[in-house]
Point group: C2
């Protein structure tokens, strides 16, 4: 008898309950899934949303793994009571959503869509946009999500330059690393996308200096994490016209406060953390596969490296 | 000595002159390219823009082919003086531009971008869009441009249904034909894209009945030809809320008159015929290749079938 505790805010249960039961069935796993288990020591696995009230993992002495429903685990990775193996979510649905959001907003900037869709259209002033092959897009972060976006954008013909903490090799993508690589990317790209995890090393990565190193007139898209950007420095770069526009999906405080200067800024598009969301059906299959692996002694997928932070 | 007449409005010459000379050189062709040739009978090839003043082709008795710089040849296909072989333009640059425009606007509708980019953003009301895999896109026209768009959209996971005059087979695309096929497509697709040529058979294809056959709340994108749509029927379908929105790039009269009801309609986005444009570099290579073929007796590419009209 395997016991799994579903530890996430109320609203997640109806979304995930049936999907998890189905995925466990498909994987041939006999699991009792509950929202509460009387004796913490009886819990074998914790299926966990990082915004849940549970933050003390020490009573779960028999727990073999904590499986995050989120891709971003920065809220719990440094929790000293969490000594069990931790897995983050790498979900096909989340990846697909991120690719769609990033490609949609990159094409929006590339084609100048706002010029036609908003406010006062420009009449018959024909400005034919350049082709993707004449445009460079920079992607900071080449993990599962960033590399999927890079591949799709390269498929349109964009020249894609990627940057990551460790050197990657991706066909058709210029892969850079280190401070020099980042400066090079920022000087080249007309559109820059941030898909890095939140770690101490990425906090305020886009500070005043790095924003100033971007091409004049460039656009910034952040579907990654709010902490990647120094908000005041971004506002200053937009206000002085160095950057043309920013589209932001993630923020240091969410929901973004009503009176935050991003809200009404004419050069900022705010989306309410919708770029990519875990989809219950595909996420449930990932969790079932990881429990199957743990039970048969195979290495689990997407184990978090505590020293790296993701 | 091969003589080619460049017969297009004034503004096209500086764009095309150098590109054509370069392409002829690369193809090893010795061609004298001129904007005027004293004796029409001396002209071997006419490189032609369908909006040029030349409409009487009968003096060009030695002309081996007329090569259109445009993909759409409806203005000249029925010209009784044009008895020479006619080739339309199938340009890699034009294809790339069409794929970028169509994908950009399909993703704009799919992700609901206008909700965030225009006017009054909705605050933190989180409506996560469905994934592409949960959405059907219909494409009318599966020629070089339509099939390229279909392939790219299918790559995102969209369920793509295509319709064409003759039955096509494209991997991963549901290919339909005939009136029944069109009705089926219109009933299924949440986003419909028109990429058909202008022929007597496609005139007013999207009439009141076909617009009524579309899914309630669907969106229509027309980067094809203005004549494909019955304008008044489209306005009526938008006004009664049956269709949610239309993005139109081509019109019966261009530039679209200032006072046309499409201009200020809250459910219409007008773009000034910028979806796809022939790019001089790649188009010049197509023309050079076709002259090379004609000179060596090989069949020319993209010959227009006068009975089909394209």
């Amino acid at each position: 008898m395997i016991r799994a505790l579903f530890s996430a805010p109320e609203a997640a249960w109806p979304q995930y309950h049936a999907a998890l039961e189905r995925a466990f069935d498909e994987a041939g796993l006999k699991i009792v899934l509950s929202r509460a288990i009387a004796r913490p020591a009886d819990v074998d696995y914790i299926i966990y949303a990082p915004n849940d009230a549970l933050t003390d993992f020490s009573p779960y002495t028999g727990c073999k793994a904590v499986m995050s429903l989120w891709a971003g685990v920065e809220r719990i990775v440094a929790n000293p009571t969490l000594t069990q193996p931790l897995c983050r979510m790498v979900d096909e649905g989340l990846r697909a959503g991120m690719v769609e959001y990033v490609t949609g907003h990159v094409l929006r900037y590339h084609l100048g869509l706002d010029r036609y869709t908003c406010a006062t259209p420009p009449g018959w002033d024909r400005q034919v946009p350049p082709l993707a092959r004449d445009r460079t897009v920079g992607i900071l972060g080449l993990g599962a999500l960033g590399s999927a976006c890079a591949r799709t954008l390269a498929g349109f013909g964009f020249h894609v330059v990627g940057w990551s903490q460790t050197q990657k090799t991706l066909p058709g993508i210029t892969c850079l690393t280190g401070p020099g690589g980042l400066t090079h990317l920022l000087a080249e790209a007309e559109i820059v996308v941030l898909i890095l995890p939140a770690t101490p090393g990425t906090e305020n990565l886009m500070n005043a200096d790095r924003l100033a190193a971007m091409r004049p007139g460039a656009a910034l898209i952040n579907p990654g994490r709010g902490t990647l950007i120094d908000d005041d420095a971004l506002l200053a770069a937009l206000d002085r016209g160095h950057l043309a526009h920013a589209t932001l999906d993630v923020f240091r405080t969410e929901p973004l406060p009503e009176n935050h200067p991003f809200r009404a800024h004419p050069r900022v598009t705010v989306t309410p953390h919708i770029a990519a969301e875990t989809r219950p059906d595909s996420a449930a299959r990932v969790i079932a596969e990881n429990i199957r692996r743990a039970e048969t002694g195979e290495p689990m997928l997407y184990r978090v490296d505590r020293t790296r932070g993701y």
